[in-house]
Symmetry: D2
């Protein structure tokens, strides 16, 4: 089969013919229908500092956001028939550590990541644990199914267990309107936010933010986002801030636009330590800063399924580009250009 | 001034001329713009068993759902200027009991109710504690302001502190589509419910339920509502049931249509003890039954303000009738007919 | 091996020699060290109405509260070595239903119960799913390990996810001081309750209640328990009531001794529908009634392990009797006498 | 009366004779029985950078932790009789801002602090709002009543609304064992923590930490506290960390000793921005960082009352010194020495 592979611990990747992998115990082989590109995949391609430190396995097929058809099962697989259309949870949990046993597998102590620690989805076929296959229910568009994983990140950040219940009738700010931020805007709107505010320096993405339902979109390169949010909230600040940028300065600003007693969910990954004004922005305000990673397994997927299948959220505008896998270089170029939302790669012949 | 008074502990009421009351310490005099009729007011008018047992004060001006203009203040009132347009919280809390001191004034141990324990709002003027005045913010229609109190009941039941966070992307059933149930349907829709289901035997109200956003409206006089909800939810039951009917049989049915782990909020007041199948419908399902009364002071009012001012909910269709106070008999007749939603009385001259 | 079997759908049970069972895929064979008797086991022995309706499988080895040594594994078992000392979770979850997938396996839609739907633990060996084996950590007395399952019921009822956080510095009432109620008293004490009150008509159990740390023990056959709790709480009622009796009248009383805004967890199983005064005891008080069954898998087990291993709770006084399996009739007689706490059966030779 | 006053915006303070203040509307005059010294008071005395920036009112009587007898009431005071023994909440809330109206007065948008923005308690008499007077219930030692305010800080940090329910059967680390940290250790112990670990460089305070119930006390000047906590928790980290030091390095360490999914409450005030490793210590672990200030009004006081009156916590060992107000210089010297816990000043004649 064709697979996009890192063959060396260095920038670049190659499209190669490799054997179709075999599912082991508890695993299934999935024929990939579509696999979308994550910012992480770009880091892996370009072999940045993070990738060099994190990737321990080369050669490696990368890519982890996918939907496809179960083609075959390994031993020890029950309740998942070939032919089923599934999306993949990419956090591969051990199932037996303390965290897994207490219902929080997504922060498993022995966590492995699909397409980072195992061969991934930029290929005609991928092997995933059966436990990681989410059966895509009726009503979800097949392309939307390819982005359920990053969409789930946004669901978890906006209405996850810890933060749930504070969105209804509240103003919600999303800092950073890349694809997950764009999803978050629409999810906050669907979950009953009174107003949804996006902050994003990239004009292309600001336009998408409006299409995804933002009431107000702030360009932090021209306007002070803290002042703009305080003005929009009559000085109170926003009860909910969802941080998707990973930019240290934006994170600091996020704390400053947060209302007293507010909740800030942190998902974007900064490059290094982030200095925070804990006194005035966290302690005296009794702010809550919540780390967010992955998706609650599988409460978040149930919510994701419902939001997409019911039509409460339409991810259509965010999926801006589609390429056959062979044209992966163009796809990554588009991603790098900043003039894109989600980009999906299709490994099949003529499946676009 | 003109006031609708109970003059005897017996059915009936009289429209009388009485002196304008004087606000005492901590109280304000409000010029009533509109006062809507609650089911409780009908009980008081008809002097049913509940009213006979509960009302300890005759003569009494009744009516408690109101909005109006602050006309004058008694001593010890700060931060509330004459001329301010306010709605009234009707739970008059003592402020010093254990419950009040721990932030739950709406279930004060010494609770008094406006229009039940004190003279109420079916009059040109009413005196309320300044602490019970909610300053109606911009964007709320004056008639909608008159129904903020019962609307707040519905807000508290659907997205109150205890239940909040389970509505988003969930199916929500509202049992009983009187005015508060109708509000609840729209609030659940605005708060991100995936589907909203109403149960109501009265055809007029079923039509209103559809106008307020119900996806499905079940007539329990012709269809088994438990079977209908289970069918609509593929056998899982609904994660959230909001009980507004106070009908013992409907409450029992509510528990049977509740999903495992579901939450049922109880607001409707039954006539007597209600037999419940605790084993199968509560314990084995780990259901949560939450008593709901009044409104969280004043978190619920903040949410109410936002939902109404932002346009997330339009209560217009529920306000079906408007009468001058002099025509109170017609107003109560309309209420009794079952062919009405909220009915507002206007005591002023020419203010309709 | 020797096994205590129901051979007919009728009262009684026989101690028979049967083949040692073989673990299937995902299952382990456990050599039973001790198995304690649950009230349910007495119902099964006596074949009461509930048993006749619920047990679909005869012959059946019953018994479900156990600890023992993993003897052998079936295929598809990982991470559980022979020789490991384990206790058994008795809720056998399917793992793939909506409830399981959203982290609430203990209320699985396809739930089966060990010793009820499968052969149980009153035998030298028992087969359980590997997923149901809790590895008993250091510091837990082997006899205490046999009662971790019912102890876990009490943990879940007192400090489970829904109720957690309201016990510290609060008065806690436990209604019904059978073994699970006795555990609950000690758990509430360990979890920071300011006062712990037990209600129990049986004198033997009232004495045990005092030994388990109750500050006050009320005999409802001589004193009005509602009046007694209200007096002890200066009229406020108790913020937390844990219902372990399953007695309809006691459940009703439980609601009446509950403080405004209080939480009542229901675990005891009543015989039929229970009439509740929802108006005054639930709605106007904003009480929360929480159904409780089984144990959160496996958060509750983690807490159970800690409470027992740390010495925060000593279950010693509750384990009043120990018998070899051959003397099961005496054991059940002791249970029936009401002069016992937990009774453990030991199937092994000379292991007592 | 005698009062310890800042007379100039500079280091130092003077004991002066000043008129007894008069309570205004809604205020009471309290005859101070004892007033304990807070670290803040030392900053005010020494006029450090924070004090110079924060204190806008000189001359000023400082001191804010107090208990005493209501001597007289101003107008508009109800439900508080002269002769009542009270402790003082020091957060003076406006009562009408958005935060106050939604039940979070302790983070009022117009917050003023007793002894900082108003004349305080290092005097024979102090005026406080009647709403800020907590009637000290039976069973609280009068000296303990003087420290209810800082004790309440610790209660709020350990078992406040946001964090409640995660302490039972969990390991709790308290970073910084000054008086509030020492209280926190004992509160965590009383609230059902399985183990309580203190971190403190000062030997005198480490000894006190042991007396207050710490199972393990770590000296960060000789041992790596992160390694020590990880070792004590078998590598999992602690589910709850309570930060009382305000030391930037210790805050960073706190995040590193926190378990996956753990909760860290921040109360200690750092000198400047604190760099945090958000990726590995917050986001990937899904840690929750909670700002903590003041006390929930008055839920925390209710808990404080119960913990002290029931004997669950004995603050005796923490109150290490008592001085008459005239000897304030000695008192501050003791505080500066680091060889003290709480130091109480007594303004009365012969009341020690």
């Amino acid at each position: 089969m064709r697979a996009l592979r890192k063959t060396r611990a260095a920038p670049g990747a190659e499209l190669l013919d490799v054997p179709v992998p075999s599912p082991g115990p508890g695993e299934v082989l999935v024929r990939v229908r579509g696999a979308s590109i994550c910012g992480t995949d770009l880091h892996i391609l370009e072999w940045n500092e993070w990738a060099a430190a994190r990737i321990h396995r080369v050669p490696l097929t990368f890519g982890h956001e996918l939907a496809g058809i179960v083609e075959a099962s390994g031993p020890e697989v029950h309740h998942l028939e070939p032919g089923t259309f599934v999306a993949a949870e990419t956090h591969i949990a051990c199932g037996y550590c303390r965290t897994c046993r207490t219902g929080r597998s997504h922060i498993c102590e022995n966590l492995r990541i699909l397409g980072v620690d195992t061969d991934g989805a930029f290929a005609a076929f991928v092997v995933i644990p059966a436990a990681n296959a989410w059966v895509v229910g009726e009503g979800v568009d097949p392309d939307a199914a390819s982005v359920m994983e990053p969409f789930g990140n946004a669901v978890h950040a906006v209405v996850g267990t810890e933060g749930g219940g504070d969105v209804e009738a509240s103003d919600v700010v999303v800092v950073g309107c890349g694809p997950i931020g764009l999803f978050a805007l629409a999810i906050a709107r669907a979950a009953g936010a009174s107003r949804v505010i996006g902050i994003e320096p990239n004009e292309f993405r600001r336009d998408l933010a409006k299409r995804m339902g933002a009431d107000l979109v702030i360009d932090p390169s021209s306007d002070d986002p803290v002042a703009a949010v305080l003005e929009a909230t009559k000085g109170h600040g926003a009860p909910v801030v969802v941080e998707m940028s990973g930019n240290a300065s934006a994170i600091d600003q996020g704390t400053r636009m947060l209302a007293r007693g507010g909740r800030m969910s942190l998902l974007g990954l900064p490059d290094g330590p982030v200095p925070l004004d804990l006194n005035d922005q966290v302690i005296f305000k009794e702010a809550r800063l919540l780390g967010i990673t992955g998706r609650e397994m599988f409460r978040t997927w149930q919510q994701t399924q419902t939001l997409l299948a019911s039509g409460m959220v339409d991810v259509g505008p965010v999926i801006t580009h589609r390429f056959e896998l062979d044209r992966f270089e163009e796809a990554f170029d588009v991603l790098r250009s900043g003039r894109s939302g989600k980009v999906i790669l299709f490994p099949g012949e003529g499946t676009i």
